[in-house]
Structure formats: structure tokens, C-alpha cells
Amino acid sequence: MSDTNATDMEYEAGFGDYFALLKPRVMSLVIFTALVGLLVAPVAVHPVVALSSILFIGIGAGASGALNMWWDADIDAVMKRTAKRPVPSGRVTAQDALAIGVALSGMAVVMLALAANLLAAGLLAFTIFFYAVIYTMWLKRWTPQNIVIGGAAGAFPPVIGWAVATGSVSIESLLMFALIFMWTPPHFWALALFMRADYDTAGVPMLTVTHGRRVTRNHVLIYTLLLVPVAIGLGLTSIGGPAYLAVSVVMNALFLKGAFAIWRRDETQAEADNYRTERQVFRLSLYYLFLHFSALLVDATLRGFGLEIW
């Protein structure tokens, strides 16, 4: 019947479909890390300014997600993990995603400049550019190191949060950057090990596709080894404290143990238990980052109550 067809073709995208363009789950991580960067900074920020700044950082990150979905609709459509995203599933047109991405990017950067300062706004603009252009358009389909360099985009939010409060960049914010930056490769490669079919079919040059799974396992271990001193080092700066160091020692020991287990296994063992270890390490890596940043907040709160232990 022609009526049914007309309704199918002119599907009205709901508010939720547009919201999904902003990658809400990634956005929540951005908001959390930016908020921690802002709260642990030694300069107090008025709550309304803090709330607005964090909101604009989140919107900027969401906008870069929309630009990513506009550009990557072709590969998202063939990967099981991303096929249900608004553009490949046909709920939102690619042009709409582009328009929303560009409009929200501009709005978020201008508003952050007004709410906080030009440095924070400049860092946000650079983050959006880095994720949408450098990572999505250039590196992702070109080099197996895509995850390593692209991870920088996800590492910027705490630096922006810190810049909102202090108007500067410092060793503390750079180490928060380094923590997320070094964490991203083992986190994503653990995922790539058990989502193998996805990246193969999409033709994205993940390390697992280009250099094989043995090399990927080695890389997970090497990057985890490099991550440990960064994570512990952050605890020795002015924003570290007993809670952070305690969490960091435990979580790094667990993450190292997991990375070592991934490194020791081969594909036969992994296929036999359906990538049990890889899945466990991936889940652990999520807790790893969340707990490190939560611990920074706990230490900042302790300092706020004057319970400085060192």
C-alpha cells in the first residue's frame, strides 16, 4: 500500500535519534573526566560556571561524535557493534548528522569561551578537530596505530576541565592526559581481539587485521607496561593522595596481570573459551579508568576537609 510506504520513507526521527548521534556513553565518560579535571584543580570555580563549562565540553564531545557518525556511516553499517547507530540504520540522514555536528561544535566552543576562558575553548576546538578530522577522516582508515593517536582525543577532557579552573596547562593535567592516552590502546586492542569479525569485514586497519593477533597481544602487554609508571606518577603530583595511590597500585597490578595473561595465550586457547580473558581484561580496563579518576576526586575531597596526609 502506498500509504505505508510513504510513512516508512518519511520516518520522522525522534529527539532520541538525534541525541544518539552524540554518542551518549562516550559523552558520559568525557563529562566525568572533565569534571574531575575541573574539581581537582587548586582554583575554586563558581558552581554555575562549572556546570555550564562541563555541559559545553560534553556537547562539544557529542558534536564530534555526530561528525564521526556522518563520515563513518559506511563502515558503521557493516560492523555489528555499530550497525544500529542512527545514520547506518536510516533513522537520521548523514546530512542531518553533519549539520548537527558542525552547529553544536561551533556553539560549544563559543559558549565555553564565554563561560570559562579562551584556553579551555581553544583546547575544546582542537579536541573536536583532532577527533573528527585527524582521527576519523585520516588515521582510522590509514594506519593500525589509529587507536594510539586517536586516543589523544579522548584524553583531552580532563585537561580542558583543568584549564576551565586554572586558565593554564600543568604537569598534573598533562599526566591526566597521559593516563587516558596510554590506557586507550590496551583497552581497545582487548576489544579488537574478541570483536575480530567486525573490523575484518569493515576493512578498518586495526592492528589485529594488519599485523595479526600475536602482535596485538604483544602490544597490549607493552602498552600496559608503559601505562603503569604514568598512572603511579600522577599519584605523586599535587593532586595525588592516599586514595589515588591505593587504587592505582591495586588496579595496575590487576591490569598488568590481565595484560600478561592476554600475552601468554594464543588463538587456540582464546577460541576454546570464547575470549574469556580478553573480555575480562576489557571490562577491567573500564573499571581501571573510572576508579583512578574517582580516587582523584576522593583525594581532592579529603584535601578540602583539611585531611591532607602528606
Binding site: D3, A6, E12, G16, V48, V49, S52
Partner: protein, 61 residues
């Protein structure tokens, strides 16, 4: 039939319009709050032609 089809589209659009409307309303409230805070953070301002009470009484001392 035609009315029902149109009604359905309107229903679908309603959720989207409501979402956009509420978002914009929230944005307006946020900007208002931000403006109030920013203006207050500037502290007391005095223009060249404005004279406060204490200054006015000074010459008579």
C-alpha cells in the same frame, strides 16, 4: 485515512519538538544564570559620572 496519517506524523513530530523546546528553554535558563554570575563576579562598578554617597560628602569635610 488522510487525517489519521497526518495525525501520526504530528504525534511523532511532537516528541521531537517537545525535546528541542525543552532543551532551548533549559539553555535560556542556563544563560540567564551564567550572566547573573558573570556580572556579579565583576564586583561593584562605577562609571565616571556616578558618585557614591561617601565620595559626595568628602569635599565638605
Amino acid at each position: 485515512m488522510a487525517i489519521k496519517a497526518e495525525h501520526e506524523i504530528h504525534t511523532r513530530r511532537f516528541s521531537r519538538n517537545l525535546g528541542v523546546g525543552l532543551t532551548l528553554a533549559g539553555f535560556v535558563v542556563l544563560l540567564l544564570a551564567l550572566s547573573v554570575v558573570k556580572v556579579k563576579q565583576l564586583g561593584t562598578m562605577q562609571a565616571f559620572d556616578q558618585v557614591s554617597g561617601s565620595e559626595r560628602s568628602e569635599p565638605q569635610k
